[in-house]
Symmetry: C5
Subunit: 363 residues, 5 copies
Amino acid sequence: MARRKPLSKIIPKRKSKFHKKKGKAPGTITYMGKREGGASVVNILEYNESSFKEHTPGNIDEIAAHKDPPEISWVDVIGLSDEIFIDKVGKRFGLNPLVLEDVVDTNQRPKIDEYEGYIFGVFKMLYINEEQQIVYEHVAMVMMENCVLVFQELEDDVFKGVRNRITSKSGRIRTRGADYLFFALLDAIVDNYFEVLEHLNEKIERLEEVVYDHPTPEVAQQIQEVKKEVLKIRRWIFPVKELISRLIDSENELVTKDTKVFLRDALDHSLEINESIQIYREMSMSLMEMYMSNMSNKMNEVMKVLTIMASIFIPLTFVAGIYGMNFEHIPELQWEYGYYYFWGLMITLFIGMMIYFKRKHWL
Amino acid sequence: MARRKPLSKIIPKRKSKFHKKKGKAPGTITYMGKREGGASVVNILEYNESSFKEHTPGNIDEIAAHKDPPEISWVDVIGLSDEIFIDKVGKRFGLNPLVLEDVVDTNQRPKIDEYEGYIFGVFKMLYINEEQQIVYEHVAMVMMENCVLVFQELEDDVFKGVRNRITSKSGRIRTRGADYLFFALLDAIVDNYFEVLEHLNEKIERLEEVVYDHPTPEVAQQIQEVKKEVLKIRRWIFPVKELISRLIDSENELVTKDTKVFLRDALDHSLEINESIQIYREMSMSLMEMYMSNMSNKMNEVMKVLTIMASIFIPLTFVAGIYGMNFEHIPELQWEYGYYYFWGLMITLFIGMMIYFKRKHWL
Amino acid sequence: MARRKPLSKIIPKRKSKFHKKKGKAPGTITYMGKREGGASVVNILEYNESSFKEHTPGNIDEIAAHKDPPEISWVDVIGLSDEIFIDKVGKRFGLNPLVLEDVVDTNQRPKIDEYEGYIFGVFKMLYINEEQQIVYEHVAMVMMENCVLVFQELEDDVFKGVRNRITSKSGRIRTRGADYLFFALLDAIVDNYFEVLEHLNEKIERLEEVVYDHPTPEVAQQIQEVKKEVLKIRRWIFPVKELISRLIDSENELVTKDTKVFLRDALDHSLEINESIQIYREMSMSLMEMYMSNMSNKMNEVMKVLTIMASIFIPLTFVAGIYGMNFEHIPELQWEYGYYYFWGLMITLFIGMMIYFKRKHWL
Amino acid sequence: MARRKPLSKIIPKRKSKFHKKKGKAPGTITYMGKREGGASVVNILEYNESSFKEHTPGNIDEIAAHKDPPEISWVDVIGLSDEIFIDKVGKRFGLNPLVLEDVVDTNQRPKIDEYEGYIFGVFKMLYINEEQQIVYEHVAMVMMENCVLVFQELEDDVFKGVRNRITSKSGRIRTRGADYLFFALLDAIVDNYFEVLEHLNEKIERLEEVVYDHPTPEVAQQIQEVKKEVLKIRRWIFPVKELISRLIDSENELVTKDTKVFLRDALDHSLEINESIQIYREMSMSLMEMYMSNMSNKMNEVMKVLTIMASIFIPLTFVAGIYGMNFEHIPELQWEYGYYYFWGLMITLFIGMMIYFKRKHWL
Amino acid sequence: MARRKPLSKIIPKRKSKFHKKKGKAPGTITYMGKREGGASVVNILEYNESSFKEHTPGNIDEIAAHKDPPEISWVDVIGLSDEIFIDKVGKRFGLNPLVLEDVVDTNQRPKIDEYEGYIFGVFKMLYINEEQQIVYEHVAMVMMENCVLVFQELEDDVFKGVRNRITSKSGRIRTRGADYLFFALLDAIVDNYFEVLEHLNEKIERLEEVVYDHPTPEVAQQIQEVKKEVLKIRRWIFPVKELISRLIDSENELVTKDTKVFLRDALDHSLEINESIQIYREMSMSLMEMYMSNMSNKMNEVMKVLTIMASIFIPLTFVAGIYGMNFEHIPELQWEYGYYYFWGLMITLFIGMMIYFKRKHWL
């Protein structure tokens, strides 16, 4: 039964973190996601305007060699459960221990931090999986001079488009630097938020229809779940606008002026997304209001039926009761047509009542 | 039946965008509106203080010739579904690919961006069509030194006044530059928002009257629709104030000091519009509150009728029941005037009840 | 009947404006108020510390002569429907066409604009007329070096005090410049807002009393009207605080340091007014809440009466029904005192029920 | 009866002010409190580290002599209804007429203004009187180089502690200047707000208990009164934080750096007070919510009783009605044990119903 | 019974403070917690990279010797009820009297103040005790050049991790200065907030399940208690983010650049905590909404049962009543199969009603 289904959680349990990390020094790297056991896979794309290579190196030295490549390289680490491996990679790329802590902390709020020599960002990729549920995938990205290092939880889905543009040489991407690649990945993440919003939109529209015709308690529960989903999504998406805006204002030389023009475009999109989330929030509140008003309307209808039935038949029953009395002298009982007069009275009362209720617009 | 009518959507579906654009590089131009198939029509007005010409050039070279005219020219491109054509025009006028992307993206949030040599703005023209519905028409405007380039979805309605002022030489418009024309168009868009607000106002007033007399569920639904309409309008109108304000503060030399005085006037109007939208929001919330209070009042009335009927006739029926009993010794039944005493008792009880309910202000 | 009375409008209809102005260039002067037909009356007060003159000049040259008087002059134009006359006066005093547009636009939001050589302000004078309704009178004021030019819709009421102070030489006003006069008029407008707030306060207090004793739907409607009135008043009063504050910060040499001290006092008052409006807003919301809770309480009372009546008499009727049955063998019917036993049972049940409901605090 | 008691007013009537002041120039001094007729009493404390004097001078010259004393003097004027006297004192101490206007305006919003040579502050002292009601006493304080001039409405209560510290030489106060005295008085006012909050807290807690057990309409009214009291208190307390903060940032040489350290402490307290007021606001809203939910719960209980009674006895009455019919051939009536079978059926139905309602958790 | 349990208090009673402190000068040290009588225990950890010592000195001179140790020392004073001792320690460490006042004021809002030579901070440690209740422990920390002085109410729980890291030489802590120790303690406090949030989360989830199945008034009360708990927690946690942020921006030389990198991490966590609290607030409001909607749904169900029972049996009873009448001529009574026809009619009516209610989805 739908009612008993535990509601999806907005805020992930931190107990695990708490128990895992309690007493550890800050900067200790601890994977916060569901441990999936499998080792990380590293996928490297290396390209410039004319050439393009893809490989999956086996050992850490090979990977580290791509930190300062002659061309642009995109190092994509998939799977974050192998903390030791992540730690090794991070150290070879010269990352701060605090950065590595955030790389594996799947509860980390979206952020962009500037360090010497690299820019580090954490985001949530949101997409709809095959079971029509929203997936929240943690992704961390490091932009260096000629290299973008990406850490993601699952085999990617959202970055497919960027990869295609590189392999098929479409658009500007092959002619630009690592900052453009970083931006293109960020743009892919932000663009995908629209898909999630669309998913929410559909849910809200479906509820809107159902709330008028069948305002069952299940509908109320679903409305509440949408409200929670909006809260949860907002939590992960909302800060992104601020982050991009700060990146545009930053004077870091890793971000070229040309790329900033494109970042402004992504800023526009994230602004639009935040406004939409706000609107969904208000719409889900309206839905609940609508539900309550429909409930109250149903109640009115129920009460009207009761009142009409009772108001008509209780007086009639009273009259019938009178002539069921055993007084010795009830003159009407001896009348020849008494019974028919009785029916006349009944019908008159009945019609009078009907007219009264019609006038009150209860019928 | 009104109930099942799908509600108008606040946030346009992005799936189309998503599916169309997914994987494309930023800066790729994709028309987001309803594809209407027809080719774009280009309408050019060329004027200075003394002369005035209007023509509809057939080929792209003729159009491009108006980029740097000896006089002021207003190039009006109507119909955005022919992406290839738009792309060509844009390139001939030297527009950035990102600008062209926004020109055809009908979901683009209002914005004003300054580029080298031109200022680019996207707005929504809102007006009421003949079926008394609000039309949201996407319009993009580019202001260059001597030329204003306008892209709009439909044959225009809102710019008629500006065109008349040019042809009839009324007001200052013929004596001023392209920046004044740009401002005049923007002012025409903003001024028309008042018409839409007026339309909303009428709807709210009509609902206000009806909510007192016939608070049916359909009224509740209409109130919710007004709330959604306010949300939707706000989405497109709200950012305009900020944009105009930024244009006034801008030091771009394309905007002359004289025009800024007029922009301040448009700023005033958009401030007023934003305040009005806020008030409509609160009024539509009050409407819902009123609806709920009236529902609850109707319920009270229904309950009172039931209670009065039941309270009067249930005891009377009980008394009639007593004298319908078949006990062998019920002295009252043998009384000669027992039946008349019974009626006396009934009438006394009835009048007592009536007085009681009158005192309680239930009658 | 009170219910059908159309509610007072918060936002004035703009359709008139729209239809009147559509297609006109910005800066075209169009009177937005109710056309009252009559010509404007101009009243001039001329004074310095020692002398004082009052006259009502007939022609425009006489009026314009007061632009740069040897003394301080207060030119008061009453009646805004004669646009041609207003336009002439404005031109003679060297006002910008946009200023003149605002002078007659009765929907103009309060504002203070600084122009070269003069400061222009638009406000709403609010006062209570004899029918105890709030009047919203549009007033525009221009402060020049030695002259204050006032445009107002109706024969004034709010400025009476200032006029008295000038004629009776009380206070500082006769010894100060035009900026002090401008401030004194502004202060008179702001001070009068308190009267309107007081009027609102009384309405709210009256509703507060009535909402406890007679929460009829009419009361709910009146509460909603107060809410709308608060919204409407806020719209006209709220911006004033910001305007005065900007005037204080302004470095315009027309405003002397001495006058700024007094402006700060007016700022204080407008701050207090804004806080009060906010409080009235919350109080009117509380009123509605109270109304709903009282409605729900009345419902509870109604239901209790019904439940008590039904719970007592339905079982009794059942018992009476039993002994009205025609079974051949119902031993109780033959008992000599059966009927009296029956009454004993009835009374016992009745008393038991009464005790039960007393315990539940329903009686 | 509690219901009809007029509610305490949040915003004092300004009509009196309006009528008193209308037409008067700004800077005219008009006492706004309840006229208490009595003359003002002036109490002077004069102290330095070693000596201490207290006297109550009779004439104005004696008082004015304390403006520039060799030691620190605290001039305490109690009673503000004698406007002429206040005016004289003010002039002898060189105060601006606008300051004097605020001294006697009991509706003045809290404020701190810096003038040349002195700092002027207006506050509300809040305390609980013996009838357990909140008293709002207007107090104005002027800090000069060696003198603090205090104007207060009533014989003081809140400043007792400061006076004791001076007379008993406890703490730093005797060794510090006038700014420290000013701060100590301000601190006494702010500290006393805690007492008022505590009073509110108790009221809310009492309502919290009562709202669960006896949610009568009187409770709802009391909740609304607490809400109004919170609004009223907030109005007078809220601005204080901002004022102290501005005093700390001020570069006025009258405030020494040492005193600023203590002011920061007062700032802390006023911050805490503002947060508490906010929390009380939310708690009183929760109370109302709780009240409504309990009302609705009581209604549910009432309805359940009605439904159970009706559902059990209406069908039974119907069955009894059947066997009360006078059909010639009703076979059951002739059965020897028909009456007992009837009782068997009745009891079965009754038990069945009871089980049904038990299952529904209605019993 | 749960209902009568006094609710936990959000804002601690200040009366005690008021009575204790009234009339005392600011800077007087008064312990605000529950007096626990016991003497304070002082625990000192002294360490550098190579060595490590722990002792519990008996007299004040020994303690004061650690103010400027050759190594890093952590002086931990446990128990705040012995004001004289705290005062002595404070004076030996050169603390400002106002600081000492805050050390023992358990109602002090979280704050960080910079003084010459030391930084002073007050926080609340929140943790869950064995009875599953939230403990609010007051803690004050002073960071000097080589020493961190901690005052806490109870034997610590939250700092255990930091102590372990020092003794076990894990992490960086042994190689860093006092500022790092200060940060590590602050980080421990903030990290523990997650545990409290988790506790809240569980409560809300439990209520979410129960609100669907058994929306009793007890559940409403528990929801209100969670709302209060969120308010209370927010009060103590919310300011921390601002404080850390100010510490990062501070130019105080006691905080090294290296430590600031770690502070930024703590800032991140406090940001996340504040967002979570906000979400819990909204969730608890949704819970109440859900409760109300379920109540209203239960009411609907109750009313439906009543209406169905009444609508079916009242008309049937009426018909039975008719044939219980004693008219001399009721033809149906003489019919041979009259009684069976009657039953046919009854069953037809019954089935008709059932179909009607089925169609209305009431069954």
